[in-house]
């Protein structure tokens, strides 16, 4: 009989080991799934994890994509992780990401065709503000009326998607676009185009900001009293109140930070890789970032690594669709498996397995 026994303290070894174990298990079970789909499993795994970086033909294109994809994932996941540490479950980063992009783009387009160097920073601030405001809605409802932030933030994603649709086909539509939906293309507006900072690396402003956010989040959580209060609220809400932490302030802080970072990620995306506000701008980064945050153990540097890994499966997944004809859904399933195995193996952080002989009743 197998029994789980609670450890006196969370195991540090397992905290570090579970993500690796989860990746290995995902590869094994994912391989079985690919085999069941009639595709060569080893080749599929290699296509996902190896080819994007080292394939002689494709790597030149796909390697820069790694940072392009990882940037927003990391930036959003960092914001989410702070809330998750406090037990505040913002599931609606996708909505905040979209609203950040729409707000930032709208502010920028209002000044079209200005070439002021101040415009791009202004748009970044506007993007952050848009995401922040979208995060404040569940925060206010939670603190004033006790609503559940999981539901409210998730519902607001669908509201944001509708706003995005109306923006791209209506009030932000390119006046010179022959009636096609979609805003002006920022790639053709050098003053605000969020181009690669170094050619062929995928490194744009958003990636840089993501790296800064990683360091900032680490300092906040490990050294600053507010970060301590956030962790305390998540660990023991009553102890936090005893300590003097206001639960409402933590809700506003966490949803504010995650909203603002997601909004910034949206702005960097719309002015960079995406190029314009379009109806299909929301690409699921906000949801995937939830996986990234947990895969990275809610630790900033863990999230950095997890974001890169998840970006790899995105790019590798596309490559596998292209080269092996794997269905897109199977790639999503593969990513979902990663979170599933992570949460499953997570048990070993707090529990140890005991093999006891079967009892005689």
């Amino acid at each position: 009989m197998i029994r789980l026994e609670r450890r006196p303290q969370p195991s540090r070894l397992w905290t570090g080991l579970t993500p690796i174990l989860a990746v290995v298990l995902t590869m094994i079970v994912g391989g079985i799934m690919f085999a069941a789909l009639g595709k060569p499993p080893l080749e599929a795994i290699r296509t996902i994890f190896w080819d994007p970086l080292f394939h002689p033909q494709f790597a030149g294109y796909s390697r820069p994509q790694l940072l392009v994809k990882a940037g927003p994932l990391i930036l959003i996941a960092i914001g989410l992780s702070i809330g998750f540490r406090a037990g505040i479950w913002n599931i609606g980063a996708e909505g905040q990401y979209i609203m950040g992009a729409v707000t930032g783009a709208a502010v920028g387009l209002a000044f079209y065709p200005s070439d002021s160097v101040l415009l791009f920073p202004l748009m970044v601030v506007a993007g952050a503000l848009g995401g922040w405001l979208w995060g404040m809605i569940p925060a206010v409802l939670k603190t004033k009326f006790g609503t559940n932030e999981i539901l409210v933030s998730l519902m607001l994603v669908y509201v944001a998607e509708n706003i995005l649709a109306s923006a791209s086909s209506g009030w932000l539509r390119n006046p010179e676009g022959q009636g096609f939906p979609g805003s002006r293309n920022f790639k053709q507006w050098p003053a605000v185009f969020n181009d690669e900072l170094v050619a062929n690396t995928g490194m744009h402003w958003g990636v840089l900001v993501a790296f800064v956010a990683v360091i900032g989040a680490y300092v906040l959580m490990a050294r600053h009293i507010q970060g301590f209060n956030v962790r305390l609220t998540g660990e023991a809400p009553r102890a936090a109140r005893f300590s003097g932490v206001s639960p409402a302030r933590i809700v506003f802080l966490c949803l504010g930070i995650s909203g603002a970072l997601a909004g910034m990620a949206g702005l960097f995306e719309v002015t960079g890789p995406a190029g314009q506000i379009s109806i299909d701008f929301g690409s699921g980064y906000g949801f995937t970032a939830i996986i990234v945050a947990f895969l990275g153990r809610l630790n900033p540097f863990g999230i950095l690594a997890a974001g890169l890994l998840m970006a790899l499966t995105y790019i590798g997944g596309e490559l596998a669709q292209l080269m092996l004809g794997l269905p897109g859904a199977s790639i999503q399933l593969f990513q979902g498996m990663l979170l599933f195995f992570l949460l499953a193996t997570d048990v070993f952080t707090n529990y140890r397995v005991r093999f006891a002989r079967k009892e005689v009743a």
């Binding site: 006196p8 507010q226 301590f228 023991a236």
Partner: protein, 507 residues
């Protein structure tokens, strides 16, 4: 057939880093009340958990009535006739008594039969209890009765009781003892765990004393003094708190008709509580658990804000100030619940030092935590209050109850409070640690602090308090000097007969 019911032979259980039980052997006779004594961390809990099938021993064996006994889970133990009443009750507040009893049984009978059985057992053993009452409305003593009746319905041969009297009024303790004596007369054996040595001397036939996981001796409690037993427990003599005669100074904290609605469905509202404590004075507040103790602490600590004008600190109205401002002013507090309220279970002792010490100890500069300084403060608490732990990096939940209690009380005391409000400072703490904590409270008062000690341990309150009041349904009786009181008057105050003079005239 011998007259030994349970024979324990060389039980050993090791956890990583600590041997909880090391070759423990003793016998419990049939119809015997056997006391199990020991400091916190001496291994009492582990031992009874092995007997009850919650923990598997690494080595050693047990014989129940001469037959090998190795329960793999509590239901095995129950089937063999071993029942246990835990220190912390596992009852559902929203369900009634009969439903709660049914939930703890292997094969509950139909509800109507069960209610009848509960009434029968409660009458037979003098444990008044209505099966249809909702558990959330019961006092701690009544809740304990639910647990006991749940055990008795299964006709146990051995009943294990973990610190049963820690939540009872003197009157309730009397009832419990009568029940236990009756069970004993019927041949049921009882393993009785307690820190209260006098209690063990009146009740128990035999006592086994554990120290650091080893059996250090068995004695007949009636033939030795409480002090001798305590010394066996701790292995050295401990100091009984000294009485002091300090000058009482100015009023530091005053409550003026403090009223607060109940925090939840099962909380207690505070009703017009008026009190004052002076510098150098210890105000003891007694009362049966659940009569507003937690609520009073939360109102004084600032966790719940009080109506304007109801709490005054050094003449300033602090009713609307939160915990941080009250701490800054010098009003510190220590809640009853160690894990989850006074300390965050998964955080290290260093982090838990920051929990309340951040500002008074200057552990935070410009918003950034000085971890070196925080660690230093944690180490100071550990050293000064003899907290047994490998170091300040250990998670709070890894400490035994008594050690964590020493830590959380010490953490506040070392911040030099002007007023210190503490709830159950020695709950579940062994005699030596309890004496140390009480002495620390007295020393603090000696230095001019005012102390409000909320406790359910009357001996403790009599020992350290200058004045005493009792909470009953959220009301505080008038406070009186301890010298004017005796156990009966206290019982009356706790029962809500606040105006004792009138009661005397009537009587």
């Amino acid at each position: 057939m011998s007259d030994t019911l349970l024979s324990i032979r060389g039980l050993t259980k090791a956890y990583p880093g600590v041997v909880a039980n090391d070759d423990v052997s003793f016998d419990i006779g049939k119809g015997e009340i056997h006391a199990l004594l020991g400091e916190n961390g001496a291994g009492k809990s582990t031992l009874v958990k092995m007997i009850f099938g919650l923990v598997k021993p690494d080595r050693g064996e047990m014989l129940l009535d001469g037959a090998a006994y190795a329960p793999g889970k509590p239901s095995d133990a129950r089937l063999s006739g071993v029942a246990m009443v835990f220190q912390h009750f596992s009852l559902f507040d929203a369900l009634d008594v009969a439903e709660n009893v049914a939930l703890g049984m292997e094969t509950p009978p139909p509800m109507r039969d069960l209610a009848r059985q509960i009434r029968e057992v409660s009458e037979t053993y003098g444990l008044p209890l209505d099966p249809s009452r909702i558990v959330g409305t019961l006092s701690a003593g009544e809740r304990q009765r639910v647990e006991i009746i749940r055990c008795l319905l299964q006709n146990p041969r051995l009943l294990i009781m973990d610190e049963p009297t820690s939540v009872l009024t003197p009157q309730e303790v009397e009832i419990l003892f009568q029940t236990l004596m009756k069970l004993k007369a019927e041949g049921t054996s009882i393993l009785y765990i307690s820190h209260k040595l006098e209690e063990i001397r009146t009740l128990c036939d035999e006592a086994t004393i554990l120290r650091l996981g080893k059996n250090v001796g068995t004695c007949t409690p009636r033939e030795v003094t409480a002090r001798q037993m305590a010394e066996m427990m701790v292995g050295s003599s401990f100091a009984t708190p000294e009485a002091r005669a300090t000058e009482k100074g100015e009023v530091l904290l005053r409550c003026d008709k403090l009223s607060l609605p109940a925090p939840g469905a099962f909380g207690t509202p505070l009703r017009e509580i008026s009190l004052e404590v002076r510098s150098g004075e210890v105000l003891g507040i007694g009362g049966v658990a659940g009569n507003g103790q937690d609520e009073l602490l939360a109102a004084l600590s600032g966790e719940r804000l009080a109506p304007k004008g109801s709490i005054w600190f050094r003449g300033a109205d602090i009713s609307r100030a939160g915990p941080i401002r009250r701490r800054d002013a010098g009003l510190l507090s220590g809640p009853e619940e160690r894990l989850g309220h006074a300390a965050a279970p998964n955080m290290s002792l260093t982090e838990n030092a920051v929990l309340t010490g951040a500002r008074r100890k200057g552990l935070v500069r410009n918003g950034f935590i000085d971890w070196g300084k925080a660690k230093g403060f944690a180490e100071e608490v550990i050293a000064r209050f003899d907290v047994r732990t490998p170091g300040p990096g250990v998670a709070a939940r890894a400490l035994s109850g008594g050690n964590l209690q020493k830590y959380v009380v010490g953490r506040e005391i070392l911040q030099a409070p002007e007023v210190f409000v503490v709830n159950q400072p020695t709950w579940g703490v062994d005699a030596a640690a309890a004496a140390a904590i009480r002495q620390a409270l007295l020393d603090l008062a000696g230095q001019g602090a005012a102390i409000i000690c909320i406790s359910q341990d009357l001996d403790e309150l009599m020992e350290i308090s200058d004045r005493f009041g009792a909470l009953n349904e959220g009301r505080l009786s008038p406070t009186r000097p301890v010298s004017e009181l005796d156990v009966e008057k206290i019982g009356l105050m706790m029962g809500g007969a606040h105006d004792m003079e009138v009661a005397h005239v009537d009587g």
